[in-house]
Symmetry: C2
Subunit: 244 residues, 2 copies
């Protein structure tokens, strides 16, 4: 019975909390990889599995919320410890959202599998690979309290945005060439946009990690929303000119 009375240290409990978040992050990374793979292989069964698995991430978020609230109530942490618990809450909520996005990509796969194939899928795969690496790296930065790794994630978001912008233009061209391309291209456009948004969310986690370590916001904090959806910059000069 003695083991019942062993009181864990705050650090142990925080560690446990962060392990749940690492598990969530690993799962979100896998969900994104599988959702994109389902598009490439035109495999609706794989997509259905991604959709079904999302509830596991949701359950883990509730676990983080409960553990964090318990930690705040019982341990009443201060300063860096307090920031760590608040960061855990925020990070779990962002990863839950990444899971939702992966599920949404999977939902589109079910439709895309019926549509004619297009060449833009390769760019989707490249974007997906970059963003998966961002998720992995930001979780490493989080668990290892590594501010340099977090800052590297902030920088890598620009590559994703560039790929997105070029893919956006490509898809718009396909749509203009042949009306039959409109529906599948619109879906791919949204898939690309979702992947780009996941990258933004990874930068939000990176900002939270910087805040947790430093106790202040990054000085030139990229907000991770510069291109929530495509805007002026995404149009070719000709499109801008003609508005068409």
């Amino acid at each position: 019975m003695a083991s019942d009375h062993i009181v864990k240290s705050f650090d142990d409990e925080l560690n446990q909390l962060e392990n749940v978040i690492a598990e969530m992050g690993g799962l979100a990374e896998l969900q994104l990889a599988d959702a994109i793979d389902a598009i490439v292989k035109r495999d609706p069964d794989k997509a259905e599995k991604v959709i079904a698995r999302d509830s596991r991430i949701d359950a883990l978020e509730r676990k983080v919320d409960q553990q964090a609230i318990r930690l705040l109530a019982l341990r009443q942490p201060m300063a860096e410890d307090l920031r760590a618990v608040v960061t855990a809450l925020k990070t779990a909520s962002i990863i839950e959202r990444i899971g939702d996005y992966a599920k949404n990509i999977a939902k589109r796969t079910v439709v895309l599998a019926k549509a004619p194939s297009t060449g833009s899928v390769k760019t989707i795969v490249r974007m997906g690979g970059l963003v998966q690496a961002m998720i992995k790296n930001v979780l490493d930065a989080y668990v290892e309290r590594d501010i340099k790794k977090a800052e590297a994630v902030l920088k890598s978001d620009g590559d994703v945005d560039l790929l997105y912008t070029s893919l956006f233009r490509e898809l718009l061209t396909y749509m203009m060439e042949d009306p039959r391309n409109i529906t599948p291209s619109t879906h791919l456009l949204f898939v690309a946009k979702i992947i780009e948004r996941i990258g933004d969310h990874a930068t939000n986690v990176a900002n939270n990690v910087c805040f947790m370590i430093r106790g202040t916001e990054a000085p030139d904090r990229p907000k991770g929303e510069g291109s929530i959806f495509f805007t002026d910059e995404e149009l070719t000069p000709k499109q801008k000119e003609t508005g068409a």
Copy 2:
């Protein structure tokens, strides 16, 4: 000098925190209204003002974060009080995101003002009106601790989704009719999607309000992500059949 030493009660400080959130919410509501109005009036100057004003919402979120962390550290609240502070943190982060979305609509307005007008703007205005009401009502529910109002917000999200789905189909038809419609229709599609997402975020706040009051998740918690982007259900039966 005596006033320096007056110690405010926890309730006063929480109240102050919630006032900042109400201010953020009012501002986000205004930003959405102005962004949509800028589309209707094809007024890029108004859109630019929305873009510039977003930093005020960001600053208010940082204020909420600081005050909440201070409250947690100094007051060490328990049970319902603790849930209230955690809900404040989560709510501020959602409203900040709503502000980002409004800014993004405004960015699109700058492009749309140059494009030919289409009739779908009326539906955008209706969607915008519904979602503005959702933001207002969920903030009332939050400040008044009114679970019935929060639940009403959860229900009203369905109307927004219906409008979005019908608008989506309409825009796809325009795009297929004339390639010159593709660019402006794609922008309006994203604007509609953003408004629908803001509605989802309002339901997320409503869920948080239910959690704060009850201490448990809603039993059949709508996750507010059922249609992050359009999926199978958005296609007409014919589109589903032909994949085009």
